[in-house]
Each structure stands twice: as C-alpha cells, then as structure tokens.
C-alpha cells in the first residue's frame, strides 16, 4: 500500500458490495414477482434492470422483489420509489422499457408517464 489514494480506489471498487447493507433511504426498484409476474416475464425485467444498473455503475440503488400486487392483468409490473416521493407503478414492462426506466426515471428523475399505471383510464 503506497498511498491513501490506493486505499480509496479499493473502497470505491467495493462500495457497491457493502452499500446495500448500510444505506437507508436510497431509490428502490421493486419488481413484482408473483407467479403471474414471473409467467408474464418479470424475471427478464429483473435481469434487465440489474444489467442496466451494473453497466451504469449505479451503486446507490436497491433492487428488491415483492409478490403479486393484485393486478395480474398488468404484469410484469415494476415500482420505482425515490425517497420523499410517491411511488410510481409501471405496468406491462418489457426488458427494453425497464432499461429505459432506469435511465429516465432513476438517473434523469423524469418518470416515464406513458408506461405508468393510470387508474383514471
């Protein structure tokens, strides 16, 4: 070990690994993975979200799963929660849409209106 910079580089490299065990209040992507969701392709959506988060090196995001929210017709579904804001529920998500949601909603903070669950419709 030569310098504190070298130490810092190791820390950065591993930060993502321990951050999920420490941080509270980070943006969360929740993929609904009940049997209905999985049958509709939630698994591929989850993998797509993971790929995107990994490629973009976003360590401040939690990816979690939950069960069926009861709107099986709209599966696969995905909920994005940014602390302090109301949750946004996306419906009929495809892997491509999922990648786009990571970029537009989580990074650029612009929810993708046209894919959101709209109860008024």
């Amino acid at each position: 070990m030569k310098s504190i910079e070298e130490l810092r580089a190791i820390k950065e490299r591993n930060k993502g690994d321990v951050v999920s065990r420490n941080e509270k209040g980070v943006p969360t992507v929740n993929v609904h993975m009940g049997t209905c969701g999985i049958a509709a392709g939630a698994r591929e959506v989850l993998t797509a979200v993971m790929d995107e988060v990994k490629t973009r090196n976003l360590d401040q995001i939690h990816i979690v799963q939950s069960g069926c929210p009861g709107m099986c017709i709209n599966e696969p579904m995905l909920t994005v929660t940014i602390p302090g804001e109301k949750p946004y529920v996306y419906i009929k998500v495809t892997p491509e849409n999922a990648k786009s949601i990571v970029l537009r909603h989580l990074i650029n903070k612009q929810p993708v209106q046209e894919w959101l669950l709209n109860l008024d419709k």
Binding site: M1, S3, L7, G34, T47, I63, G67
Partner: protein
Amino acid sequence: MDFYRAHVLICAGTGCSSMESRLLRQNMHEEILKRGLDKEIKVIETGCFGFCNMGPIMVVYPEGTFYCQVQPSDAAQIVEEHLVKGRPVERLLYQHEKESTDTVEMENIEFFKHQKRVALENCGRINPENIEEYIAQDGYFALAQCVNEMKPEEVIDVIKKSGLRGRGGAGFPTGMKWSFAAPVQADQKYVVCNADEGDPGAFMDRSVLEGDPHSVLEAMAIAGYAIGASQGYIYVRAEYPIAVERLKIAIKQAREYGLLGKNIFESGFDFDVDIRLGAGAFVCGEETALLASTEGRRGEPRPRPPFPAVSGLFGKPTVINNVETLANIPKIIRNGWEWFAAMGTEKSKGTKVFALAGKINNIGLIEIPMGTSLRTIIYDIGGGIPKGKKFKAAQTGGPSGGCLTESHLDIPIDYENLTAAGSMMGSGGLIVMDEDTCMVDIARFFLEFTQEESCGKCPPCRIGTKRMLEILDKITSGNGTPEDLTNLETLAETIKDASLCALGQTAPNPVLSTLKHFRHEYEAHIYDKKCPAGVCQALLSYKIDARKCKGCSLCARNCPTEAISGKIKEPYIIDQAKCIKCGECMNRCKFGAVIKE
C-alpha cells in the same frame, strides 16, 4: 466488481456454527446455483450478530429481512420464496412476545433497537475474510490518516481526549497508557493485544476477532505508530479456533496489501503482527502473566512496578490493550474524539459490549451506550426473564465482580456506578439470575472457578480461596455454623489485601457481594438448614402431597433408586433414606403432587 441485487448474510460465528450454519450456507449456495441466481445473489459469511439464542441467523439485504433459527433444510424455501418471488418466509421471521406482528427488519427488533454498535459495527455486516469489504467500510483509513497526517503525540492526544478506557475490566484510560510507553527510550517496543478472554460466559472479544479482525490489526498498528513500536502480538486462546483462523487470514491479507510490514503508506513506519496462542489459563488474562506466557514462560503474574509500559515483553516497553478497546480506536480516529466523548456518562465514554446470559430470554451479545440502565438491558433488549419469573440479581464482572440487585436496576451503568454498587464492569459478562437461583450456590460456583484457576504463586490466593471454598461447601451441604460467616468475611478481606494480582484481589468479590445483599440466604442455610431457592441438594427433600397424588405409579417406575413405594390409586410415599434428590419424580408427575422443600 460484479453487481449483486441481494446479499444473503449468514452468521459464521462460533454460536451459529455450532448450530449447523455451515451446512445452511452450503445448502444456500447449492439452491442458488440450481436456480441460476449465482450471478445476482451473493452469500456471505459474517461474524456474530449477537442474537445467539435465535441462531442460526440469516439476514437478507437490501431489505434487511431478519431470519432466525434457520435450519439447513429451510434453504430451498428461502431461495424459492424470498429470492425468486420476493415473499419473505414468514415462519422464520423473528417474533417478539410483546409485538403482535412479525418483525421483518433487523433495526425494528427490540433486541437491536436499543443498541449502539461501535466496536461491533462490522460484526454481522461484512465478510471478515475479505479485507476489501473492511476497506469499503472505511477500514485502514484511520491508519492512513495517522501515519500520513498526524504526529504520534497527536494520536495519543486524540485517544486521551476521547475518554476511552480499557474494556478488559479495570477501565484504565487508554490514552494515558500509551503516553507512558511513548517517551521511554528503547531499541524495541511492543504492542500486545490481550485476547485471553476467560470470564465464564463472556465472548465479546471472540466475536470481534471472528467478525471484524482487521479492526484489531488496524488499531494495533495505530498504537504502534503512537508509541514507536514496530511489532505486535495477539495473545489469543487456542480454544477460539475460528477467531484464530480468521486472524491468520486477516494478517496474511494485510501483509499482501502492504497494510502491515515495512514502510506502510510510504511513511517509513514499519509494523507487523504475530499470533501467540494461550492454553486457556484464566490468570493469563492478567497482563504480567500474559507477558510471561507470550515469552514462552509459565503464565504467572509478577509484582508491579515496573509496569509493562516501562518494562514489558522481553523487558521492553509494551502497551497491552484488550480486543474491544482496540476495536474502538480506528473509529475514534476517523470520527474524531468529540464523537466518541459525546456518548456515555461523565467519566465513562463510548459504549460497552455485554454478553447476556443466564435466566434471560434473549441470550446473546449486545453493545449499549455507557449509562444505559440495567432495566433497559434486561427487560427491553434482553426481553425479560423466562416463564414470568421474578428478577433476583445480575452478576457483572464474572468471577471477579459482584451482583446487582433489584435496587440497582435503574442506575446508569458505567465504571464508577458499578464499583460503587459493589460490583465491577469487568470484561462485560452479565449473568441474570431469577428467583430460582441460590445466591450461596452462585458464590460457590464462582469461587470454585477462581480457586481452580489460581496459579498458585502467592499463598493468600492459593490457600485462601481453597479455605473459602471449603466453608461454602460446608454451608451448602447443610453443615454450616454461625462463625462461618465471620470467617468468610475475614478470609475475604485478607485475600483481597494480600494477593499478588487481580485474580486473587477480586476472587472474594462474589462472596462479599452476596453476603452483603443476600445475607439472609446464607443464614437460612446455616440456621434453618434450608435452601430458600431450592437448589442446594443436601438441604432439599422431595415429598408427595397425598391430596394431589392419584397413585398412578409413574414416579415410582422412574425413580432410579426405588425410593418411592405405594399402591396403585393410593398416595405414594418417598423414602428419604433412599432418595438421592435427583428430581426425576417431580419432572414426571403429571399432577404437580411432588413438592420440593
């Protein structure tokens, strides 16, 4: 670095390992592999979470779902339900008696809610066998800061101002200790870590070594820099195989990363650490005996002065610090002394780790800010006393300490208050006793321990504790006489005054403190030949209540000495001459007809 969406942390401390957590880990790996999830879910073995009676423990992040008493056979269900479908397995969630709903997240559990983890911060959170996880948690940054930006005297000053005191028991200010060794001129100085944890029931040092070994190495290097030492030794018991193994791995990794060895951070500072194994003699926790044993001599204490700071290991200036003390050091450097000094009471700063044991629901390891009351520890964190029994006393300081009674439940726990209450902080063993505990028997238990562990060098300890034990044996076997109590007191005072080291000086404490708070129990044993708690076998007799006995003969059939006789459907009788007081009849009786007097 690969990205994992979920981390499954499984406790690999000694407690959970003894409950098949290794097999559980293996099964989890297999199940995850089987479903092709190995690229997205990481299984990590960690140090102790502290909640040992709920082990094996598993925590799933990022949600922080807390599973307890997980069996190896549960692996498939956890992977299928939680990791594939995102549905926590409810039957394995922690359930608190007081709380009606299941508690999912670790931080909401009563046991963890009142704790403040400083020394144990990384235990149960990082993989102790991976130095990079420690670095990711700001590990070794304190060492970098010390050797690059601070003068040795500045380091000592920070530790002094933080108010950190020795966590091994005596509570000597750590910064002060360092400042004694720093100015002594010598060609070689040493830093020794005292990991000879010997109190029955205390295991905080083991947990730190198992769960966060790098924090101890980093702290030893900082101490070395502060006092001018280039070599450190960890004196650890050979009975801690997991701790020793993880320490070896940690030392190897630290050397590979250049965090131990020559020219650390190109500052010109050299420091290395080696392990010395102890054979488990209690007296070797005493610093001069520990040094003798480290040198390869018989583990016996010697009179002080000279203090180790002046003449210690191999006659060179030496600083000896306890594991828990060291685990606090890197955090004090990183967060500043003000942060540390803001926790605790006026004279006792920071936190203290306690090993909760005895008659308490949540047996385990806890860390609380100094000044927390015994009531919070026992009733909130500890979850109260099992079976609704009444609290009687709590022993702190192990065989060197004393007991605290109901009247002490609300005093803020710190070094001074415990001493004033006739006990001591000690290394942090906390044994809770309920109404079924006989205090004379407890005193006898601790004295038996110290008497066996006396090294035999000085007569007051060697002979004195033996005589005291004989008197206690006499009392508990029903042969006590009134003068025994005064003899006990005289002996105790003499042993305290005349013994060479702390082992002898503190050995009479459990007797003195129980005599002070529970003298009536001693008197009941001596005058009435009764053991009020019903523990001392010689003073007990089992009888059958003729009104409750249905004459089923179950007791008679299970009596190992055939002391019970009678006719079916008529009350049975116990022959006191044949009875060996094993209590089997009482355990078997379905009608509560057997009574103990």
